[in-house]
């Protein structure tokens, strides 16, 4: 059974866990703590197993050798309660610091892109040259107003939509995440990012800055129905020049229909 190796797929890092190579600034901190936890847990595991197996071999039943009658040792209990508690609390603090850093507010000059999931594909909405996405409301989403755009907004007619995410390398990108029907999720392993897209609201705390160019795939990673397994979209991280060219072409032809029927999704 031969699997065609796609030329677009990134090569794996030669690290021990085969993570796909990181592509974002926030991913550096994530990989840092992932590494730390890996070495911590591996050391603990090895130490415990070595001691355990040593005991299992040394204290196997032998004729004439009696087991040692002991109900325990309170001092040991205190040690192996307080020490791990301190370590775990430290780990929690470390993790939360990285968490808050990843979720700090996006820079003001970030590229705003709205990503909307629906059974079973993705729509992206880019702002017009103002850089500001037209005002919209999830409750206005309907069959002929797929983004719920407020038609009275001055930027309403400038936005355009695509089915692929194209972004310039090195620039912060601020994602506005939505769903039209069920819970989907935005997941890009190379970006070390995951966020559920919940219907009925817009989640605005996902942003990232890429470190390198490449082709990636956005994967829906929250079970969303029969087509969940195939709910993907291309992500292209390109040079600023290539992005500018692409953007200039797209912004000339805003393609979003803003109707006003009152059919709303469930």
């Amino acid at each position: 059974m031969v699997m065609p190796m796609s030329l677009m797929a990134e090569s794996r890092v030669g690290n021990i866990y085969w993570t796909p190579q990181n592509a974002t600034v926030n991913g550096l901190a994530t990989d840092g703590i992932l590494n730390f936890i890996f070495w911590l847990t591996t050391s603990v595991f090895v130490a415990v197993q070595v001691v355990y197996i040593y005991y299992l071999v040394k204290y196997r039943r032998r004729p004439g050798v009696k087991a040692h009658y002991s109900h325990g040792n309170n001092k040991l209990e205190i040690i192996w309660t307080t020490l791990p508690t301190l370590i775990f609390l430290g780990l929690a603090i470390y993790g939360n610091r990285v968490w808050y850093n990843i979720h700090r507010p996006a820079p003001a000059d970030a590229l705003n892109v709205e990503i909307v999931g629906y059974q079973f594909a993705w729509d992206m909405r880019y702002p017009g040259t103002s850089g500001v996405l037209a005002r919209s409301d999830v409750r206005k989403i309907s069959l002929d107003n797929k983004f719920g755009i407020d038609p009275t907004d001055p930027h309403a007619k400038e936005d355009f939509s695509t089915t692929e995410l194209v972004i310039p390398v090195g620039k912060p990108v601020h994602i506005f995440l939505r769903s039209r029907d069920v819970i989907h999720s935005f997941y890009v392993p190379e970006f070390r990012l995951y966020q559920d897209a919940v219907p009925g609201r817009t989640i605005a705390w996902v942003w990232f800055r890429t470190l390198r160019m490449g082709n990636f795939q956005l994967a829906c990673s929250q079970l969303c129905g029969k087509g969940h397994y195939n709910m993907k979209a291309p992500i292209r991280v390109v040079s600023q020049k290539e992005y500018d060219t692409w953007y200039a072409e797209k912004v000339k032809k805003p393609n979003i229909v803003i109707g006003n029927s009152s059919i709303i999704s469930q």
Binding site: M5, S6, W18, I37, G95, S221, Y229
Partner: protein, 594 residues
């Protein structure tokens, strides 16, 4: 028969105990097996029914693994007979069908296999025996609980035959996918699932009530709380968790049923509802649920290890406090399933702290298990092998939990195969290994025969090897970016390179299936043809080993009086290396009080 309480017994009874056992007529014939007030028969009813569901749940897992290992290949042999909701005409599993297989595999394993085995079977069989009681506090409620479980089983099986098929929303059934018919396209199946969960929950609540009452009020004289075997402690704490957690699931299931069928909007945003409400309700149950599934397993293992190490449990009181901490903390960590759900980010950070802290009591227990084998005299029987392996597998599962407890790492591994690896290590390497250990250990008490040790050792070695072959690579798959619940990983370019790992997991899974067959062959053969077992083949100290195998109706001809803790092995100065709980130590012997 009543025994008067004499003044020179060291008693510290919390409550008056019922010395009078229930008198009910013994039924004869087939009714004896179908309707019984005897906790031992009810325990065996749970055992056999759960084993049937185990075979089904395992078969579903095989189908899942086949599709993941060899996507879009027709399933050999049985593929063409699968219903159209699961597979196409030539037997290839279809995407919607894959979701159904995953959903039903998990639902069945959690609610119809692991809980009924640990709590229904072992709980029922062992609690009265180990506390010196004649039966449970509420024998009729006990049997009703079993039949509620069976009825819930009929509903879950019916879901497979519903128009549209079984639900494919995961055992977690997130709304609004599960709450809106046009989104899930399995309205009937999802509804039947909800009914099954609800009725199954009633059985759990009733059973928990029975166990708590029995343990508190029906202990034999001298059986103080700190002389209780750890299995009993684990089931007491588990029962308390059930009482508080299951009603929340029942309420959520009812709300889901209403959203799906009666136009309410608990979870639908268009009607003013909140999708995240389902997740909070489900996981408020769901997290204690996983401790419900591991605590009895820890109890069983803590019971069996001292017998074959011929040593008391190291740190008995610490073990009790650790289990109680796990139970208590288990109620304030549910948000760690929702770090990336859209929940408030600070709330996520708070749950991360409590989640890290809950690792501590599990660590305490692991160190105490190591202390139990330290300077022991270890005999490698089949139950001991599974018990010893439990410790290692549980440690792996627990350590992988540290990764996902860390909020930024969870951003990377959430809903990937890293999670699948984690929970299979604790549920299979943990709970199921403990169940196997318990079966081999108490089989002689239940059936007065011994299981075949050679087949048992083959089962153990094969299971250990194939289990790790199946689930260890899933850590890599998850860190490599493979998501959960996807019918065909090769659809994603970044996952195609990982496909060989999926093949390895699939081969391991088939090996696991074959290993389990060895177990069942041994089980059934030994029931009918196994060598006769003495009343106490393992020379163990707890009360069930002081009576006949199997125990008669009412268990104890004379109510036992308990003088010692449950693990007095290798007491210095004694001739024999164990002191049963109902035997006074010789006058010159000084026991350590734990």
């Amino acid at each position: 028969m009543n025994v008067s309480v004499t003044p020179d017994i060291d008693l510290a009874l919390d409550h008056p105990i019922a010395l009078e056992t229930h008198h009910h007529s013994e039924k004869k014939g087939i009714m004896h097996y179908l309707w019984s007030y005897d906790h031992k028969m009810i325990g065996l009813q749970y055992l056999w029914t759960a084993f049937l569901f185990f075979l089904l749940g395992g078969a579903l897992a095989m189908a899942v693994r086949y599709q993941l290992g060899f996507p879009n290949h027709p399933v050999p042999l049985i593929g063409r007979f699968l219903p159209s909701t699961l597979a196409s005409d030539d037997g290839t599993i279809i995407p919607g069908g894959y979701n159904m297989l995953v959903t039903m595999h998990a639902t069945i394993m959690v609610f119809f296999v692991v809980m009924p085995l640990l709590i229904g079977a072992f709980g029922n069989y062992l609690i009265p025996l180990k506390i010196g009681a004649g039966d449970m506090a509420f024998p009729l409620l006990n049997e009703v609980s079993y039949w509620l479980y069976v009825i819930s089983g009929f509903f879950i099986l019916a879901a497979f035959f519903a128009p549209g098929g079984a639900p494919g929303t995961g055992w977690t059934a997130y709304a609004p996918l599960s709450a809106v018919a046009i989104y899930n396209q399995t309205q009937v199946g999802q509804s039947l699932w909800g009914i099954a969960i609800f009725i199954n929950g009633l059985a759990s609540i009733a059973g928990a009530t029975n166990y708590i009452t029995t343990i508190i009020t029906m202990r034999a004289p001298g059986m103080t709380m700190f002389r209780l075997p750890l299995t009993v402690w684990s089931l007491l704490i588990t029962s308390i968790l059930l009482i508080f957690a299951v009603p929340v699931l029942s309420a959520a299931a009812a709300m889901l049923f209403f959203d799906l069928n009666f136009g309410t909007s608990f979870f639908k945003p268009a009607g003013g509802g909140q999708p995240l409400l389902w997740q909070h309700l489900f996981w408020f149950f769901g997290h204690p649920e996983v401790y419900i599934m591991i605590l009895p397993a820890m109890g069983l293992v803590s019971e069996i290890m001292p017998v074959f190490a011929r040593k008391p449990v190291f740190g008995y009181k610490a073990m009790v406090y650790a289990m109680a901490s796990i139970g208590l903390l288990g109620f304030i960590v549910w948000g760690h399933h929702m770090f990336v759900s859209g929940m408030n980010l600070t709330l996520s950070a708070t749950f991360a702290v409590s989640t890290m802290v809950i690792a501590v009591p599990s660590g305490i227990k692991t160190f105490n298990w190591l202390g139990t084998v330290w300077k022991g005299s270890i005999e490698y029987t089949v139950p001991m092998c599974f018990t010893l392996a439990f410790v290692s597998m549980f440690v792996i599962g627990g350590l992988s939990g540290i990764f996902m407890a860390s909020t930024p790492v969870d951003l990377f591994v959430h809903h990937t195969y890293f999670i699948v690896a984690h929970f299979h290590y604790v549920l299979f390497g943990g709970s199921l290994f403990a169940i196997f250990s318990g079966i081999y250990f108490w089989f002689p008490k239940m059936f007065s025969r011994m299981m075949n040790p050679t087949l048992g050792m083959i089962h153990f070695i094969a299971t250990f090897l194939f289990f790790n072959l199946t689930f260890f690579p899933m850590h890599n798959l998850g860190l490599g970016g493979m998501m959960r619940r996807i019918a065909d990983p090769t659809v994603y370019e970044h996952l195609r390179q990982l496909q060989p790992l999926n093949v390895i997991c699939t081969i391991g899974a088939f090996g696991l299936g074959l290993s389990t067959l060895v177990f069942f062959v041994n089980l059934f053969y030994s029931i009918f043809k196994g060598p006769q077992a003495p009343d106490n083949p393992w020379l163990a100290t707890t009360l069930e080993w002081t009576i006949s195998s199997p125990p008669g109706h009412g268990n104890f001809p004379i109510t036992p009086i308990v003088y010692n803790g449950p693990y007095e092995y290798s007491v210095p100065g004694m001739d024999k290396d164990y002191l049963p709980q109902n035997e006074k130590a010789p006058t010159n012997i000084q026991l350590e009080i734990h």
